[in-house]
């Protein structure tokens, strides 16, 4: 009887805690700027759900692995498809092209040429930090990976004649506590999220950044490209606050020997494809 009472009490307390955590963030828990908007300013790690400093969050799992078994053969990279994620809705001919890139083990990855990784890949990768600097009129996003940046004016329109670019042209607006960023003006030289996930310059991306507590931003991204996709493709991820981390230089072209090595493998007929 007593045990049952305790079990019930524990259940009720647990339910209460769940209810509290499920409530929308209150002004007391969410960092805000003087103008009342959620403050996204900080250094963040994409694709992680671990709280804490960079060292704390990455110590247990190690960077890119279980941290317990150095031989662990399976670890997701930004060009892997996360478990449980729905397949990218490519048109059949385009899906075939994506599959071919997968079977070539990603040697056609634009980043192997030291080109920028594009969106949303750059936001969702976890090996390198990214920084958000928020002002009332514009948001600046800095990415250590390939040292690229985005300047996102708020409540502005896209210029009419855009120069196609790797990271596109972004404009932002606040919808309640969510920063919504609209991005167009892409070139066709990046992968979206996964090996071979190509697109055309018709790509239109809508991102939603919602800081849900001190440690975490929920990131939702919808990709539209009628030239290759059958319907909009939506993915979700998280950005975790990494206090004390500084962005560093990443000059990829410094010593990039990999494209030559791929050519050598191909030329010598070394079997590496799936």
């Amino acid at each position: 009887m007593m045990r049952s009472f305790i079990a019930n009490a524990v259940f009720v307390i647990a339910l209460g805690a769940l209810t509290v955590s499920a409530q929308s963030p209150t002004k007391s828990t969410l960092p805000r700027t003087p103008d009342g908007k959620p403050d996204l300013t900080g250094v963040w790690q994409g694709g992680s759900t671990q709280r804490g400093s960079w060292e704390e969050a990455n110590r247990g799992v190690g960077v890119g692995g279980s941290g317990r078994d150095p031989a662990a053969a399976v670890a997701l990279s930004s060009n892997d498809r996360p478990t449980g994620r729905e397949g990218a809705p490519y048109q059949p001919w385009a899906a075939q092209k994506v599959l071919e890139a997968f079977n070539r083990r990603g040697i056609d990855d634009p980043t192997s040429q030291c080109l920028p990784a594009g969106l949303p890949r750059t936001v969702m990768l976890g090996l390198f930090p990214q920084q958000i600097v928020q002002t009332p009129t514009q948001i600046i996003m800095l990415y250590e990976y390939m040292n690229v940046f985005r300047v996102i004016p708020l409540n502005a329109k896209h210029p009419e004649d855009l120069i196609p670019s790797y990271t596109g042209n972004s404009v932002g607006r606040w919808e309640g506590d969510t920063l919504v960023v609209d991005v167009i003006g892409f070139n066709d030289k990046t992968w979206l999220a996964g090996t071979g996930t190509f697109h055309t310059d018709a790509l239109h991306i809508t991102e939603r950044f919602t800081r849900v507590n001190k440690d975490q931003i929920n990131y939702e991204v919808t990709m539209e490209d009628p030239n290759v996709l059958t319907k909009p493709w939506t993915l979700t991820s998280t950005l975790m606050l990494r206090e004390g981390t500084r962005l560093e230089e990443y000059i990829c072209a410094e010593n990039n020997i990999d494209p030559d090595r791929y050519e050598k493998l191909l030329k010598e007929g070394v079997k590496f494809t799936r």
Partner: protein, 144 residues
């Protein structure tokens, strides 16, 4: 082919692993063979703290008593610093280390490093797990 890919997809779906998306800049899986794990002990002869990848070279004694120089690849300097490496304190020429990794597909004296054991016994990762950047276990698209 289609059936095999479906099986791979099912296998991937059953492996709910705690892993975070990283990126490797390029495909380690294309260059290095997951079926050729190696552990070598040797003396460091040179270190390149460079982007997009760092490299170090070690002299290793082979079975015939000959000294062979091996090259290993790993993360770039900023990533290494963030996980605890210190260029001026660790991995200096003359240091004896043991390294675990995977050999290049072409069979040369070249490998992808994963874990390094320093002479004081400390272990640190120097590179990502095998297969990183090669697309993972299933393609981004459904294959039926």
């Amino acid at each position: 082919m289609g059936r095999r890919l479906t099986e791979i997809g099912v296998l991937a779906a059953s492996l709910l692993l705690l892993a975070m998306p990283l990126t490797a800049h390029h495909s380690f899986g294309a260059e290095y063979d997951v079926n050729k794990p190696i552990t070598l002990t040797g003396v460091i002869t040179k270190v390149e703290w460079t982007n997009p990848h760092s490299h170090f070279y070690i002299d290793v004694m082979d079975a015939k008593g000959n000294v062979v120089n091996w090259k290993f690849e790993g993360y770039n300097p900023a990533v290494l610093y963030r996980i605890g490496w210190k260029k001026d304190l660790m991995l200096k020429p003359g240091d004896k280390i043991t390294v675990f990794g995977w050999q290049a597909r072409d069979g040369g004296n070249w490998a992808h490093s994963r874990e390094i054991t320093l002479s004081n016994g400390n272990k640190l990762f120097f590179g990502p797990p095998a297969g990183t950047g090669d697309g993972g276990n299933s393609p981004a698209v459904e294959v039926r």
